[in-house]
């Protein structure tokens, strides 16, 4: 997946968690602001690691706290 695909995957997945519409999930808001607690976020990241078949360091929680930043980081890495 490229960066755009990862952004869309994350918005869909997080929208499901929040029981809202993917269009309302701001990719530039911090996960915290989106209303996602850390455990829910870790579950999302666990699913994403499975989806992309890569390992994701727990430190991304602190380094890339938005959907856009995380997607950029992961797209870079898997490229």
């Amino acid at each position: 997946m490229n960066q755009t695909d990862i952004v869309e995957w994350l918005r869909d997945r997080i929208a499901k968690d929040l029981e809202s519409d993917a269009g309302t999930v701001d990719p530039d808001a911090t996960f915290d602001r989106l209303g996602l607690d850390s455990l829910a976020l870790l579950a999302v990241l666990g699913d994403l690691a499975g989806e992309l078949d890569i390992e994701i360091e727990t430190s991304v929680l602190f380094d890339h706290p938005t959907i856009t930043a995380l997607a950029l980081h992961l797209a870079d890495r898997s490229a």
Binding site: D37, S38, L39, L42, A43, L45, G46, D47, A49, G50, E55, I56, E57, T58, S59, V60, L61, F62, D63
Partner: protein, 420 residues
């Protein structure tokens, strides 16, 4: 001579030998000096990180600000700092069944798991003193929380370890085990409603009264109960095991404690408990996050920077504690008699400091005192293989595998035996 297990020292040094994450954004900087501990734990510029909330939900333990203040006001009066003896009744209530069980084990010479034995009595004390309900001696209900505690510990370690990976199945396990723990909490709530112990001023009773006043909802109560379990069970039971293990390696100290106990003197027992909590502080590490840019504890902190407060390293700082890996209860005894203070106001923090100073510290110390004086006064704990105990870091420093011991009665014949 070192009385400590090298594996755990190596692991902590690997994790906390230097700044875990020296560069931004979101730096994680190590704090292990007493001035730094005091400054950060008492600063309003630093708050709990989200780690603790991950473990048990967003209760008193995990919160700062308004929620912390509101929840603390509810729970704190059930742990009166000036009347620690308020808890004694619950400890004494649980003791006869504990003694009976140890007597059975001594008679049969049957091997048993030490951690499980002490967890049983700690569980019964906590259910009665904190939740206001009585459970039968054979009903090992506290064990129903263990899967959650162990999963939470693994998750915490994956978050604080450099290079830790997101582990989807582990996250699922944390969620599943929390659901299982909540089933036990429902049982506790039901029992508290139908068969409360009369006249007990317990934390759960205060939480339920607060619910009546609209100060907390059902989910809030569950968060608090999970946090109370997290804070009160593995912490105490593992500390009891470490203390007995340290004493087994130092029979001369154990013999002195036994002699003192025979003369109703608890000076050295109390010191041995404090010394155990120095070497194996249950909460071995803590984190705080800067909410404003501030200069403190020799660092310029940016918003979001994390302070990694290594209690383990603080307690083993050779500048504060000479020969720090040595088990020496006399550090806590004044040569003139009476207890001796730590070398610095913030050199010794097994219960933390500041807003999150452990509300149950008096209960924990009294419980350890009564359980250990019972064991040391009446029994001998013989470790099958003392060196096989593998400490592992989780929520607390705990033993990774069951600890097999045999119990023997401490009769005068055995008491006069020379130390092995």
């Amino acid at each position: 001579m070192s009385d400590s297990n090298d594996t755990v020292i190596e692991r902590v040094l690997e994790l906390q030998g230097s700044d875990p994450r020296p560069h931004g954004p979101s730096r994680r900087l190590l704090v292990s000096d007493p001035e730094g501990f005091g400054a950060i734990l008492h600063s309003t510029a630093f708050e709990r990180t989200d780690f603790v909330g991950l473990l048990a939900g967003p209760g008193l333990l995990a919160s700062d600000g308004d929620r912390w203040r509101a929840r603390r006001r509810i729970v704190q009066p059930a742990f009166p700092p000036r009347r620690p003896e308020a808890h004694l009744e619950h400890i004494e209530w649980a003791m006869p069944a504990f003694i009976e069980r140890l007597e059975d084990l001594a008679r049969d010479r049957r091997p048993t798991c030490l951690l499980e034995e002490v967890t049983r009595i700690v569980g019964r004390i906590i259910y009665r003193s904190v939740f206001g309900i009585e459970i039968d001696p054979d009903d090992h209900r506290i064990a129903r929380f263990e899967p959650m505690l162990h999963a939470a510990g693994e998750l915490m370690l994956s978050l604080v370890s450099p290079g830790g990976r997101v582990d989807g199945p582990l996250v699922d396990r944390v969620r599943r085990t929390r659901i299982a723990a909540d089933e036990e909490i429902d049982w506790i709530l039901e029992r508290r409603r139908t068969r409360p112990v009369a006249g007990v001023d317990d934390a759960l009773g205060r939480l339920l009264a607060a619910r009546e006043e609209g100060l907390i909802d059902d989910e809030g109560i569950r968060d608090e109960v999970r946090a109370l379990v997290l804070a009160s069970t593995e912490t105490s039971s593992n500390s009891l095991v470490w203390c007995l293990r340290l004493l087994a390696g130092r029979p001369e100290i154990r013999a002195t404690i036994e002699q003192e106990l025979d003369a109703d003197d608890e000076t050295r027992l109390e010191a041995a408990i404090l010394e155990t909590l120095r070497l194996y502080p249950p909460v071995w590490s803590n984190e705080r996050q800067a909410t404003v840019a501030i200069e403190l504890a020799n660092h310029q902190w940016a918003i979001g920077d994390r302070a990694v407060l290594s209690v383990y390293r603080l307690h083993r700082d050779p500048a504060l504690w000479p020969d720090p890996d040595r088990f020496d209860p006399d550090r806590f005894i004044d040569p003139e008699g009476g207890p001796r203070r730590p070398p610095h106001r913030f050199a010794y923090l097994p219960f933390g400091a500041g807003r999150h100073l452990c509300v149950g510290r008096h209960l924990a110390l009294l419980e350890m005192n009564r359980i250990l004086s019972t064991i040391l006064g009446r029994f001998r704990i013989e470790f099958e293989d003392p060196d096989a105990i593998e400490p592992m870091l989780g929520v607390v420093i705990r033993a990774a595998t069951p600890i097999t011991v045999r119990v023997a009665g401490r009769d005068p014949l055995q008491a006069s035996e020379p130390p092995a």
